[in-house]
Amino acid sequence: MRRRANRGLTALCMAILLPAQLLAQTPPKSAASDTPNDAGASITVTWPRGEAVGGTTYLVYVAADESGPFHLAAEVEAPLAAVLADDPGNFGRGEEQDATHYVNVSDYALDDGRQSLENDQIYYVRVAVRTDGMELRGAITSAVPEANLINTAKLNNFVIGTALSLIILASISLARRKEMFIRRIAGLEAIDEALGRATEMGKAVMFVHGLREMDKISTIAAVNILGQVARKTAQYDTLLKVTSYDPVVMSVSQETVKEAYVEVGRPDAYNEDNIFVAGTDQFSYAAAVEGMMVRERPAAHIMMGYFYAESLLLAETGSMTGAIQIAGTDAFTQLPFFVTTCDYTLMGEELYAASAYLSREPRMLGSLKGQDIGKAFLIAAILFGSLLATAGWPFITHALAAH
């Protein structure tokens, strides 16, 4: 919308400043170059913007030899012809970009089909303008298509990625040397309390994984919390059952629980069969876990990870059994149900913070700190960006554009 308005404005200025009629009737002064930021086999042809009148057409001809023959590669009606400013990622923004038409040429017409351009070969280009059937051809220019090694349109992405990496890695290495502050997360004590109650009652604790795979942050946080839970159940000699949906998550959980039991000197109490995949389909998983909740009546359900629609089934059935329920998920669509059916709920990133808080692991703490710094930058960018954009200087908006 804005872009169109801009272009309209520029066209208006041009109409006043330039003798547009003249432009339309003289052959366009074209230039050609390799198309930036691409895999090659394409050249970009530019020429000054003319008056956007109907009936005027630009024609781009390409030849492999300076003496021809020239083949038609592109044909655009003047009002529809793109200007460089339409692609700010590759060509930038500005008055000059607004006043220059361009077309990317990757092939040209032959009698029988189309011929693609090839890398590292010189091509000759001439742009013609056709008005009322009369065609005026401009001078010949040339360009060599190349495969590019770096995408400059992604520069802002690269800079932010590098900066974030450095901040997070630096925070982690800092966290290894000194204690880092994290605000208290209400509800974490509930896990200890629940394990304590299960021990008193001599009943099991059930740890329910979400549905996501092992490389997901929520699953990793869940496994970290599981490690803590397992250390406690090993010490208290309480039965721990772990249900998972993903086989990889199951294997990782088995090793995590085993290590926890070995760590507190109770390898004998570890039983691999208590950690299993309960279902390979979302609802067969939910049904199996529900069935176990109703049949085995654990004293506590700890549901951690990423959940989908099964959350309500699990939480509602779970609350019917009277068990203490603690949930943690970054699945925000499911949070309303956990919030209304569980004794404690860790919302979104609180799940990660809790896993860091519990484990006091420098990598988790440092990472959280790094993300906090990232968030501070985002907040600053949003506030200053809006302020400047409102004042008419949208350069932060432009610098943060995704191309």
């Binding site: 992405n157 932010i160 049904a287 309303p336 990133e349 913070a353 949208p394 995704a402």
Partner: protein, 241 residues
């Protein structure tokens, strides 16, 4: 006999009688389709019996479903991926046009895939770590730049627009306040007291409205599913609609 087992028998009796009426009345016939409808109706009602309480019928239906689902998905993976793509390509079955290079390259994920299966063994299970290193490493690598672009850059770009003195501008300002205050709520480096506490409180309000929206929408979704099942029972099975 307990009350529950009487209910159970009564339920089965009614189900049999209903189907008999439907068959005699000509609403259902002895085709595979009609048999399917009766099976599906039986399973549907059996699963709904869980609403009364957990019972053998529910467990039966549940376990039938578990088995069928596992084998169904096996079929999909086998025909559409492992056989249909991997085996056919590597062994050049039929009209497969894959070049020798393509076949050799395909051996790499196939071997890595077989290594994943070593996780079933205690002895050589560690071999699967090589495959998981690949899956997790490539996944992480693909994620970083794409999340920066699709989520950080694009979403912030859409937030920082000129704020005008009209309704749209006011809405944009509210979005701005909401985004910032929610970010502050999920800021873990400072205790939520004073100004920060106030801002994070605003963040909670925004979160609660969005949770309310999600709650309402989810209720809508579940009711839609129930409508679908009840339509099946009333229309396809009982033919009363």
């Amino acid at each position: 006999m307990t009350r529950d087992s009487m209910l159970f028998l009564g339920f089965i009796g009614i189900f049999v009688i209903l189907n008999a009426i439907l068959l005699v009345g000509g609403y259902l016939d002895m085709s595979w389709t009609s048999l399917g409808v009766i099976t599906a109706a039986g399973l549907t009602v059996s699963l709904y019996s869980f609403l009364y309480r957990d019972n053998p019928l529910f467990k039966l239906a549940e376990h039938i479903f578990v088995g069928v689902a596992a084998a169904y998905i096996f079929g999909i993976y086998w025909y559409q991926s492992l056989y249909g793509e991997v085996v056919v390509r590597i062994f050049g079955i039929g009209d497969d046009p894959a070049t020798m290079t393509q076949r050799l390259l395909l051996l790499v994920p196939s071997v890595l895939g077989l290594l994943i299966l070593t996780r079933m063994s205690v002895k050589i299970g560690w071999l699967s770590r090589i495959s998981f290193a690949f899956v997790v490493g490539v996944g992480a690598g693909f994620t970083i730049p794409r999340y920066i672009s699709a989520f950080l850059l694009s979403q912030i770009e859409a937030t920082i627009r000129p704020i005008t003195m009209d309704v749209d501008g006011l809405n944009l300002l509210l979005i701005l306040i909401g985004v910032v205050s929610v970010l502050v709520y999920f800021f873990f480096s400072v205790e939520h007291r004073g100004v920060v506490g106030g801002i994070s409180k605003v963040g909670i309000w925004f979160l609660m409205i969005s949770f309310g929206a999600s709650f309402g929408y989810t209720i809508m979704a579940r009711l839609s599913l129930l409508i679908g099942r009840i339509r099946f029972l009333l229309d396809d099975w009982l033919h009363v609609m």
